[in-house]
């Protein structure tokens, strides 16, 4: 009975932060500390409701919360809280809550506080509503809202040209993905219309259960593209994945994420941990039955994810900006999540479990890393690691929590036991799944990608730790430990980064595997995988010992490399890390993406073509416009004499007009 009462409050989860947005936006100036208390209370309430519903679901995973209301025609709006959505809701509201509390102190000197808190509240509301959508269209609407909020927040300091440019870049880059996502929805809708035979009352066409029930028919529809026979389902899922690539910063649309650092650090933490980049992973996980039934789609997901994990890692090791290292780390970890989902081609539903598990763990330690970075920036005022050093003595709590986060990110833990950091359990699960995939299909590329990326992860994060916290200060700064309101969220997150994975390891996976078998949707992943031509194998457990230990070995190796180079300073980096070294230059310039994307593609091709077209059009349009102008002036000079100002003339004109009109109509009717 308690549970049914809770369901009644489910709609409040996104609504409360949205209300907080309105209140803070309009009345925040009159409240103490920019009205921060309103979003904090609202998000705390959302968190409590989410957590209560999650606990209810844990006891009884079959009974998901599902409420649908007709919107128009065959579309609906509704709420769906199944295990997948429940854990996401709890994580998003929890991490967002901590970040909001932290931001009270972090943003205390900023005059734009009300705007900041209003926008982050809306950001959270949009993400929460995205997560609990029960149909693809509502999800898309929230998806766009998330994009809008990220634009507003990245460009929060819009007086800075670089922030404005970064905001624009983020918006435009994710927009490419959004267009693909929308195209996918449109194709899906038209296909479903055809399959369902037009509009039918009582069915909600774009609700997930309805979509999933049409998967076999969708898969049977074939389209011919450039001579290849492609299933409609593959096209739709790849377009959805295109949207996820944009939102989750996968290669090649990852370029916006490092630049998104221009916003306040707390915004970066929100974007990277809780509210934005996880949306893409969530989308793929949510539509996983479609992906697994579509041939080749999961392969694309796996390869792109694995490649992104490695690619972003290589750039992470040369960055000197504290936040940029973390940004590339996020891209890399998102690559892992996508890889995990893509491995569903072999391990089936377990893929959703390990991927979302990694997502949740990543949210904890990445939020922690960013908040620590924010704490450093707040205290010291610089984020260039070359100018830092020796901060460990000045900021012990920050240093300790950040070290924990780094351990979690690198994935330290002892295989075979439940001893280890959160990142260890989830990342290892993905790497083991990649091994299983390699063993099964004799295709070792995803495994190699993931192992290499794990090594790089360890190198770049410990490089960051050693450069920042050990050694002597490399510039004059006056650091101090941050106030308690900042360090308490850090400590809470550190605890979660340390133990969450170990505590929930097995239960979490089992819980998430209930996502697609309950009172709302009940799909047989095995048979769907058959449609997609994916062979599932039994769960892991019989890998060689070396495979189990491999992630830890590379993590320790990475730590050792970083220790030798950046702590002991045994190797002089001057020769390697200089602009003369082509590899270093390539990495430091981020593979010249900026040059390729912005200067060559955007400025060179697009701008050039547009400029040329503009010149040609200018001449044509100009002459047309001027011709029309001259003609109009000439004609109206004559026509204005008609306006005599005498009422009788007008009356006569009306009567003549009406008479002629009647005659004309009569004539036309006679002729016809």
């Amino acid at each position: 009975m308690v549970k049914t009462a809770l369901e009644e409050f489910a709609f409040l989860i996104p609504l409360l932060p949205a209300l907080a947005f309105v209140i803070t936006f309009f009345f925040g100036k009159k409240m103490p500390s920019g009205g921060a208390i309103v979003p904090i209370m609202a998000i705390a309430a959302s968190f409590v409701i989410s957590l209560a519903i999650t606990l209810g679901l844990l006891a009884n995973p079959e009974e998901v919360v599902s409420q649908s209301y007709s919107w128009f025609a065959v579309l609906n709006i509704g709420i769906l809280i199944d295990p997948l959505a429940a854990v996401m809701l709890s994580m998003v509201s929890f991490v967002s809550l901590l970040i909001h509390i932290y931001a009270v102190s972090y943003m205390s000197h900023d005059p734009g506080k009300p705007r900041y808190f209003a926008e982050t509240a809306l950001f959270t509301a949009a993400m929460l509503s995205l997560v609990l959508s029960d149909n693809i269209l509502q999800l898309f609407v929230s998806w766009e809202l998330v994009g809008l909020c990220s634009f507003l927040l990245i460009g929060f300091w819009y007086e800075k040209p670089s922030a404005a440019a970064a905001a624009k870049k983020a918006f435009l880059t994710t927009r490419i993905g959004d267009v693909m996502f929308l195209t996918g929805i449109i194709i899906l809708t038209s296909d479903l219309m055809r399959l369902a035979g037009g509009f039918q009352d009582g069915t909600y066409l774009l609700r997930f259960d309805e979509i999933f029930s049409y998967i076999p028919q969708l898969s049977a529809l074939q389209a011919n593209i450039f001579g290849f026979e492609v299933s409609h389902l593959t096209i739709i899922t790849l377009l959805f994945f295109g949207g996820a690539v944009g939102k989750s910063g996968q290669f090649p649309l990852h370029v916006w994420l490092p630049d998104a650092m221009e916003g306040p650090t707390t915004v970066s933490a929100l974007i990277h941990a809780a509210t934005m980049v996880t949306a893409g992973v969530y989308l793929v996980a949510r539509t996983f039955p479609m992906f697994i039934a579509a041939p080749d789609s999961l392969m694309v997901v796996a390869y792109l994810g694995g490649f992104t994990a490695l690619f972003a890692g290589t750039m992470g090791i040369v960055m000197n900006d504290l936040k940029r290292v973390l940004a590339f780390s996020t891209i890399s970890q998102l690559g892992y999540m996508m890889l995990g989902l893509g491995l569903g081609a072999t391990i089936g539903l377990e893929a959703v479990g390990i991927s979302i598990f990694h997502l949740i763990n990543h949210a904890f330690f990445k939020a922690l890393l960013f908040l620590c970075a924010g704490s450093i920036i707040h205290a010291v005022g610089t984020q260039d690691m070359r100018e830092l050093g020796g901060l460990g003595k000045v900021m012990p709590i920050t240093a300790a929590t950040m070290a924990i986060a780094a351990l979690a990110l690198a994935g330290f833990g002892i295989p075979g036991t439940s001893m280890g950091t959160s990142g260890f359990f989830s990342k290892d699960a993905i790497i083991e799944a990649a091994y299983l995939f390699g063993e099964h299909s004799n295709n070792w590329i995803p495994y190699l990608f993931s192992i290499a990326a794990a090594l790089l992860t360890s190198v770049y994060i410990f490089r960051l730790i050693f450069m920042t916290f050990t050694g002597k200060p490399r510039s004059n700064y006056h650091g101090h430990e941050s106030p308690a309101i900042m360090t308490i969220p850090l400590s809470i997150l550190a605890v979660f980064a340390l133990v969450f994975g170990g505590l929930t390891q097995t239960g979490f996976m089992a819980f998430l595997e209930e996502t697609f078998a309950n009172s709302f949707v009940n799909v047989d992943i095995g048979s769907l995988a058959g449609i997609g031509g994916n062979e599932l194998v039994e769960a892991a457990g019989h890998e060689p010992l070396l495979v189990l230990w491999m992630p830890l070995i590379v993590a320790v190796a990475g730590l050792a490399v970083a220790f030798v180079i950046y702590y002991l300073r045994m190797i002089k980096l001057g020769a390697i890390a200089s602009m003369k070294n082509p590899i270093y230059r390539l990495l430091y310039k981020r593979y010249y993406q900026h040059e390729i994307y912005t200067e060559f593609f955007s400025l060179g091709i697009v701008y050039g073509v547009v400029a040329l077209l503009t010149q040609v059009l200018d001449v044509i349009v100009d002459s047309i416009v001027e011709g029309i102008g001259i003609l109009t002036v000439g004609v109206s000079e004559e026509l204005r004499r008609v306006q005599t100002g005498v009422v009788q003339t007008y009356a006569a004109a009306v009567i003549v007009g009406v008479s002629l009109l009647i005659i004309l109509v009569k004539l036309i009717m006679e002729v016809l």
Partner: protein, 100 residues
Amino acid sequence: MIPLSFYLGLSALLFSIGLYGVMTHKNGIRIIMCIELMLNSANLNLVAFSSYTNTLDGQVFAMFSIALAAAEAAVGFAIFMAIYRMHDKINLDELNILRW
């Protein structure tokens, strides 16, 4: 008996006379009188149709329209009085400030 078309023809004739008056006269008072004539030709139509379809709605409407005509005439003459007070004339062809 007289066919309906004859009533309509009479009404058209009345309307045209009113129209001709509106177009040729200059004095505002006369023009309003002509407009009343046109209005009453429409009333004639209403009553004629009402009789020939054996329903009374049209005649009720004619009553309403006569009442509205009274209101319109009252406002119209008041406007002309105001104009006369301002310009000392009510010849409409000289009141052409709406012109180009």
